[in-house]
Amino acid sequence: MALPIYATTGQRIWHYTYLTICGLVLFFLVAPLIIVIPLSFTSSPFLSFTPEMLR
């Protein structure tokens, strides 16, 4: 998957765009799991982010 040294500028741009797209999709997949972790420490009775969480 590594970019060959002879790659043109266009190919370079596409390569990094492609990697970004993949990163975004993978983020889309794990985002709900990431968000749940801090929320499980919430002190309020509702599912909300509180300023105390930042401390």
Partner: protein, 437 residues
Amino acid sequence: MRPFLNFRLFRKFFRMSDVAANAQAGQMMTADGIPLKKSLKASLRREKLRAFGLVAGPALFILILFVWPIYALFQKSIDDSFVNDVLPRTMAIYEQWDGVDLPGEPHFEAMYLDLTSAEKLEIGKVSTRMNYAKSGWKSLIKKSNRKFKKIDAEQPIQPQMIKADKRWGDVEFWKSLGIMKDRTTAGYYWNAIDRTYDDKKNVIMQPENRRVYVMFWKRTLLVSTIVTIACLVLAFPVAYLLATLPLRISNLLMICVLMPFWTSLLVRIVAWMIMLQQQGVLNDSLVGLGIISDENRLPLMYNFNGTLIVMTQVLLPFMILPLYSVMRGIPPTYMKAAQNLGATPARAFIRVYMPQTIPGIGAGVILVFIVAIGYFITPELVGGKDGQMIGNQIAYHLRKSLNWGLASAMGVILLSAILILYWVYDKIVGIDNMRLG
């Protein structure tokens, strides 16, 4: 499938030896004097029994857990014997009525006897069924049940019944009984696509304000199609990346795909609710960054968008995994060879690489689509009003309105739709072309 295969092989083998034995009938004998044909047959029977014994367990399992429930579902969707069972006298002489004027004394008497002799619980159930044919039946029967105690069975019943409730004098109610006189009905199926019977059992459209299901069917198809396409578009680059990266790194990234897959569906849905609601993480971030103003927060949850986004995320692994397994099997040298022969990378990708991923695409598309078309829990939780699908209607009729006939009919339609799609898929792509992993 192994036992079946062996069974077939056995049969083929022994049929051939039968032919051989037939050719020399009367001459071939075994050592202990039994004709060879007979001896072969005995051993063949033993093999057959053994083969049958091997498949008996799984076959019984499939029969009890798959075939029987589906048969029961189908049975329920066309069954209409209830009214006949509870109101036998009324239904027996119903044919004698001309269907124009108010029915005569015998009909009223039969109805009176049926309603007073049946069990109260049964009456309640049957009045619910009759209410589907014409609304008003339920309250009429309920009220009559109370007032019928005053009726003097010695006197003519007709005027007393009409006195108890004047709706008994309404011909429309008597006419609607005709819809229920057969023991089976296609009425639930018509109902599931917004049609109904008039009193002569012709199929007509439902009144304008009661047409809902066609919209739900259309929306279900629309959501499933969009989700399938979105999954394919999102999964393809990721699967390609995972398949072309060295195993060490791709296994690490694979965790990102498998983690949501292993997490409870409810946890993921709740997390999406937190992220996408009006005061949620995404909207707050966008407002904080100044991309959207505070009044124009994006409506992403409890509507059509919510259903789409969450379903796409939930079903994405189902698309990535088959695609990945197919792409892993494609030798990278093909692409290199194509480029060596003068194809640009894009051309090599489209002409050489893409066609080889078809089995994975097919498997992923059919898997995602079939799972999506019957989806229930996600639309229920995040769909709000305009993100509901037909699965929610089935659940509603099973749990709330208790119209199991209609729910079953919808289930059967959904099942047949899936089978038809499967058949179409087989015709276009070919099932043996599918690789699930």
